[in-house]
Each structure stands twice: as structure tokens, then as C-alpha cells.
């Protein structure tokens, strides 16, 4: 075996350029694999984070019947006494905030906006005292100020503001139906614009104080949801069960962010599958390259192969020698590939790639906007390293087998 290893590695130096080109192809494939995986992992981590920080929170308490009717935004299917529940959660060290979500028509007046117009919108009424305990809007203010209690005011997402031409100090009117079905019109001043990293929120966000909404909509202290923040390290399913236990079955249900974002998670999973196919193709191209190199290496040495077989070297040992040689190419390619992957990854993690212009007008499902950063995944690098060697070794098997099918006199005559 020592001789076979020594022979294989000496043969690698025989055609240095070809060895390097093939190893380079493997390295490129592995680098791409590491790069794409890093980017995907980065997107997923950031996407989930932005989902929880700006959309779903870690978990949410809802009326038992609310989730199945959620697209109608019913105000009458609500949590009647959210304050007592939040107080119970406070006692258990759980941060929470109440919200009222309702749909309505946004009326734009030509006085401020230059022309009259209207559009359907979703409005979120927030507890100005507690919302920052659960959501992270405090880091997103682009212009103006945040909401205060009793403020007849709204905050808009920057993309929505841009789309409708809104500026600070402009007034908007929201027409909706209050709790009980009556029509209500609210005149509200734009006091702040936030640039939220979650594009879905930034594209649609209209936020107003919950006490003002309570009066307009006759909610009488009720809320449509209580959002909950849990530590990142928490076992979300166990926490949901624990919180559900605290509610004593008051006709309320606790949903984790995973349940609420099931559609997103399914899409992300499908995308991972699609990306897996691309990565498989990258590996396939590298494998074809190695196979071709090994085929050339073997057929250039057919006479040598005939000599070895004549002298009594078994086919198995010859096959092992060529497979070790291929493994050597794989090893060089893997070292180069992981090294290049580390360099590329460093820049992708530190500086990221700016996709802002692309994401502005397109919803691709991920909750990220502008700069996408990668993430370190040493497991992937390990997999890439060993896969490079394994695939190289494996693909050498077939051309060697083919060459060994030739009879020895033909091998010795081979030019």
C-alpha cells in the first residue's frame, strides 16, 4: 500500500498542469458550493430574524377563532382583556405587547399628495409603551419620530411612503369598519417613516397608537393579538405549551412563529431543494472534469498498465493506485476549494451583497432587503472537503475499470 500511495502521488506531478486544472475545477465547484450555502444560510437566518422582529414575534396569543378568519381581520373575534393576560405574562418574566390589526381604505388627499387617490391597506395599532419590548422598530426610524399615546398619527414603511409620495406632516384618512360594523374615518398625520429590514413590512406598514384605534373602533380595551418575545435559545414549542397553560383555556390559543410562518418555511424548504439541485449540478460538472482527466491519464498510460499487469500486479491494486491518484487530485482541489471558500465567505459575511434594487419591486418570499450577508457554516466546509475527495475517487473507478477490460497484449501494443 505504501508503494501504491507513493506511486499515485508521484504520478500527480507527472502532468502538473492537468492536475492543477482539474483540481482547479474541483476547487471552483467547492468554492461555489460554500458560497451559495453561506448565502442561503445567511438569508435564512436573517429572514427568520426579521420575521420574528417585525412580523410575527416569537409567538402570538389569539382568540381561538381568529387564525382561520385572519384574512378578514375581524375585530369582533378578539382578546377581551389583554391587559390581565399581559400582566400574567409579566409575572412569568415573558415580554409581551397587545396589538389591533384591521384593514381599511387609505384615502389620499390632493392637498398633500397632489392628487386624490385610495388603496386598500392593513393597519396595525400598537401599544406605544410596550411594542419595543417585543418588536425591533426602535432601530428602524428613518425620518420623524415614533408614535406617542393619544397621538392622531401614523408611521409608514419607507417603501409605502415612497410609493404614495408621502412626507412627514402629510395627513391621510383611513376609512374602516369598527367593532360592530359601523363605518369610521380617521384623519391621521404622518409623523415618522421607518425603513424596516423586512421587505413585506416595509412595503405595507401603517402603524398607529392602540389607544387612538381603541376609541375610533370601539374596541373597549380589546386587542386582536398579544405578541410575545421569547429568548432566541428558548425551546419554542415547550414555551408555547407553557404559555397556553398560563391562559387557563380562556378561549385563547398560542401560536409559535413557526406555525404562523408555515407557508414561508415551506417555500424556504422548497428553495433549499432547488438550490440543492444547482449544487448537485456543480458537483456533477466537477465530477465529469475529474472523470475526463482520469480517463486521459489512464489511457495515456495503457502500456504502463500492461507492464504492471504482466509483472503480476492485480487489477485490484491497479484500480486502487488510480483511485488514490484521483483522491490526490480531489485532496488538492478540496484544499484549494475550501481555502477559496473561506476567502469568499469572509467577504460575503463581512460586507454582503446588495440586492436592494432587485428586492424593492419583487417579493421572493425571503424577509430580507438590500444587503444579504452570508453565514459561517463549518459543517458545509467539512462536507465540501470530504465530498471533493470522495467524488474524485469514485469517478476514477469507471475509466480504470474500462481500461482494465483491455487484454494485456493490447495494452502492451497501445501507442
Amino acid at each position: 500500500m505504501k508503494f501504491l500511495i507513493s506511486l499515485a502521488f508521484k504520478n500527480l506531478t507527472r502532468y502538473k498542469r492537468r492536475t492543477l486544472i482539474t483540481a482547479g475545477a474541483i476547487a471552483f465547484g467547492l468554492m461555489m458550493y460554500i458560497f451559495v450555502d453561506s448565502l442561503l444560510l445567511g438569508i435564512e437566518i436573517e429572514s427568520v430574524r426579521n420575521l420574528k422582529w417585525f412580523e410575527t414575534a416569537s409567538a402570538r396569543i389569539l382568540n381561538d377563532d381568529y387564525w382561520e378568519n385572519r384574512f378578514q381581520r375581524p375585530l369582533d373575534i378578539n382578546i377581551a382583556d389583554p391587559d390581565s393576560i399581559m400582566s400574567k405574562l409579566d409575572d412569568n418574566g415573558i415580554s409581551s405587547t397587545k396589538r389591533v390589526e384591521f384593514s381599511g381604505d387609505l384615502i389620499l388627499n390632493s392637498t398633500d399628495f397632489g392628487e386624490d387617490g385610495n388603496m386598500s391597506v392593513l393597519v396595525t395599532a400598537v401599544d406605544t409603551e410596550r411594542d419595543f419590548d417585543v418588536f425591533k422598530f426602535d432601530t428602524t426610524l428613518q425620518e420623524g419620530r415614533f408614535l406617542e399615546a393619544d397621538d392622531d398619527a401614523v408611521i409608514l414603511g419607507s417603501w409605502l411612503a415612497e410609493d404614495i409620495g408621502a412626507e412627514l406632516g402629510y395627513w391621510i384618512t383611513i376609512v374602516t369598519r369598527g367593532n360592530g360594523g359601523f363605518y369610521e374615518a380617521m384623519d391621521l398625520e404622518i409623523v415618522g417613516i421607518v425603513n424596516c429590514p423586512n421587505p413585506n413590512v416595509n412595503r405595507t406598514l401603517i402603524m398607529m397608537p392602540i389607544d387612538v384605534a381603541d376609541e375610533y373602533l370601539a374596541m373597549e380595551g380589546a386587542a386582536t393579538e398579544i405578541s410575545i418575545k421569547l429568548p432566541e435559545s428558548a425551546d419554542i414549542d415547550a414555551e408555547v405549551i407553557r404559555i397556553q397553560g398560563l391562559l387557563n383555556g380562556d378561549g385563547l390559543t398560542v401560536m409559535s412563529w413557526k406555525s404562523m410562518a408555515a407557508d414561508y418555511l415551506a417555500i424556504a424548504e422548497a428553495k433549499r431543494g432547488g438550490t440543492g439541485m444547482i449544487l448537485f449540478l456543480i458537483f456533477l460538472i466537477a465530477a465529469v472534469g475529474i472523470s475526463n482527466t482520469m480517463l486521459m491519464a489512464i489511457f495515456e498510460r495503457i502500456r504502463e498498465l500492461g507492464m504492471m499487469r504482466s509483472l503480476g500486479m492485480s487489477d485490484k491494486k491497479i484500480r486502487i493506485a488510480f483511485m488514490i491518484e484521483a483522491a490526490g487530485i480531489g485532496l488538492i482541489g478540496s484544499i484549494m476549494g475550501v481555502f477559496l471558500g473561506l476567502i469568499v465567505n469572509f467577504f460575503v459575511v463581512k460586507y454582503g451583497i446588495n440586492y436592494g434594487d432587485m428586492y424593492r419591486d419583487m417579493d421572493i418570499g425571503y424577509r430580507v432587503q438590500a444587503i444579504i450577508r452570508g453565514a459561517w457554516n463549518f459543517k458545509t466546509m467539512g462536507i465540501a472537503f470530504f465530498a471533493g475527495i470522495f467524488i474524485s475517487t469514485l469517478v476514477a473507478f469507471f475509466p480504470t475499470k474500462r481500461a482494465l477490460k483491455m487484454d494485456i497484449p493490447s495494452c502492451l501494443r497501445h501507442q
Binding site: L7, E304, M307, R309, S310, L311, G312, M313, S314, L412
Partner: protein, 225 residues
């Protein structure tokens, strides 16, 4: 030692059948220095390949040391070659990335000998063929004659009873060819190794103690000297 009995070999070239050997019979004794001669296409390499267990006959029988090699399976033939036969090729067929020492030691590495024994035997045989001091040179740094000496050392190092050489001097000039033949003759006498070589070179034929001439796949003459 070697009995070749009515051996036939037919090659299929496209639609055409070529009768390379048409019933060849021979007895070769231990220690013979025998040349198989004849024009191109006469069947000398085919006969050598069949005795060397690297080709499959269509009819007949060959036994070496009372073992019927024609009935052996592929693996058995490989083992038989490894233990009993040495080969010398016209184009030397050395492994270019290995040194002279490694090219010779390669054969012993197949026999699972100790490192010390491999080293001792390799150095001894290289000295015997006149390559002392050149052990670390790669084939590219050796002359044709020196390369053929490495090939002879490689064939002899495992002390086989039979060495088969296919036109061993064809790629060498006449002086070097003569040197190689003298070396082979010396080894034949010293180790009592049976040498069978194919050639169409008159000088090589003159060195042989037995000359078998083939023509159209049949023995035309068999002369012991």
C-alpha cells in the same frame, strides 16, 4: 520445464480471422537461452505472450513447471506471473516517475517482502547489471541501454525461473544491443534462468543457444547449438 502442445491462436480483425499460430509444439528445458525468430507477423510475439500467460490460446495446451497455465483463471495467471515469470519489453516500459531503484523494487513490493529484503535485493541486482550509483536516476536521465538494464534488473530481481523478452534490443544501437545480450547471457549462466526472447535481429539469433524460427504461425526450424 515448458511444454507447448499444438497451440493455436486466431485473432479476429474486423470480419477477417488471422491465424497467428497454427498448431505450435515445443519443449523448453530449464536454463535455455532461446530465441524465437521470424519475420513480422510470423507469430513470435503471440507465442511469447501465450507462454507468458498474458494471452489466451484458442486450442492446445501449455504447461510450465507441470502447471497447465491454459486452464488457469485470470487471478491464478496473475499470481503465477508474479511468482514465476520475468518480462523484458522492447520499449523498456519503465515507470517514468520512479527512480531506477523504485522501478526494480516495484516488483518485489508485489511479493510482500520486508523493506530490508527489498532494499538488499534491489541494490544487489542493480550492481549486477552495472547500474551502481545510478539508483536514484529516473528513466528520463538514463540512456536507452541503461533503461534496458533497469528492465533486466526488474525482470531478474525476484529470481524467476523464466524470463520472456520481446525484441529486447530492437530499440538499441548494435553496440548497446550487444552489451545487453552479453548481460542477459551472463545472467542466464549465473542464475540458470531460462531466457526466451523474440527477435528478427541476426546478431541476437547468433547469441541464442537454441533458435526456433517461425513462419506463418508454424515452426519452420528448431536448432540447438
Amino acid at each position: 520445464m515448458i511444454t507447448v502442445k499444438d497451440v493455436k491462436r486466431i485473432y479476429q480483425t474486423g470480419e477477417t480471422e488471422v491465424n497467428a499460430l497454427k498448431g505450435v509444439s515445443l519443449n523448453i528445458e530449464k536454463g535455455e537461452f532461446m530465441s524465437i525468430a521470424g519475420p513480422s507477423g510470423s507469430g513470435k510475439t503471440t507465442l511469447l505472450n501465450l507462454i507468458g500467460c498474458i494471452d489466451q490460446m484458442d486450442e492446445g495446451d501449455i504447461s510450465i513447471k507441470n502447471e497447465h497455465v491454459s486452464k488457469m483463471k485470470k487471478k491464478e495467471k496473475t499470481n503465477f506471473r508474479r511468482k514465476n515469470l520475468g518480462f523484458i519489453f522492447q520499449t523498456y516500459n519503465l515507470i517514468p516517475v520512479l527512480t531506477a531503484y523504485e522501478n526494480v523494487a516495484f516488483v518485489l513490493s508485489l511479493l510482500n517482502l520486508s523493506e530490508k529484503e527489498v532494499k538488499d535485493r534491489t541494490m544487489a541486482i542493480l550492481k549486477e547489471v552495472g547500474l551502481e550509483g545510478m539508483e536514484n536516476r529516473r528513466p528520463g536521465k538514463l540512456s536507452g541501454g541503461q533503461q534496458q538494464r533497469v528492465a533486466i534488473a526488474r525482470a531478474l530481481v525476484k529470481n524467476p525461473e523464466i524470463i520472456l523478452a520481446d525484441e529486447p534490443t530492437a530499440n538499441l544501437d548494435s553496440d548497446t544491443g550487444k552489451e545487453i545480450l552479453e548481460l542477459m547471457k551472463r545472467m542466464n549462466e549465473k542464475h540458470n534462468t531460462t531466457f526466451i526472447f523474440s527477435t528478427h535481429d541476426k546478431m541476437v539469433m547468433d547469441y541464442a543457444s537454441r533458435l526456433v524460427i517461425l513462419h506463418d504461425g508454424q515452426i519452420q526450424s528448431d536448432e540447438k547449438r
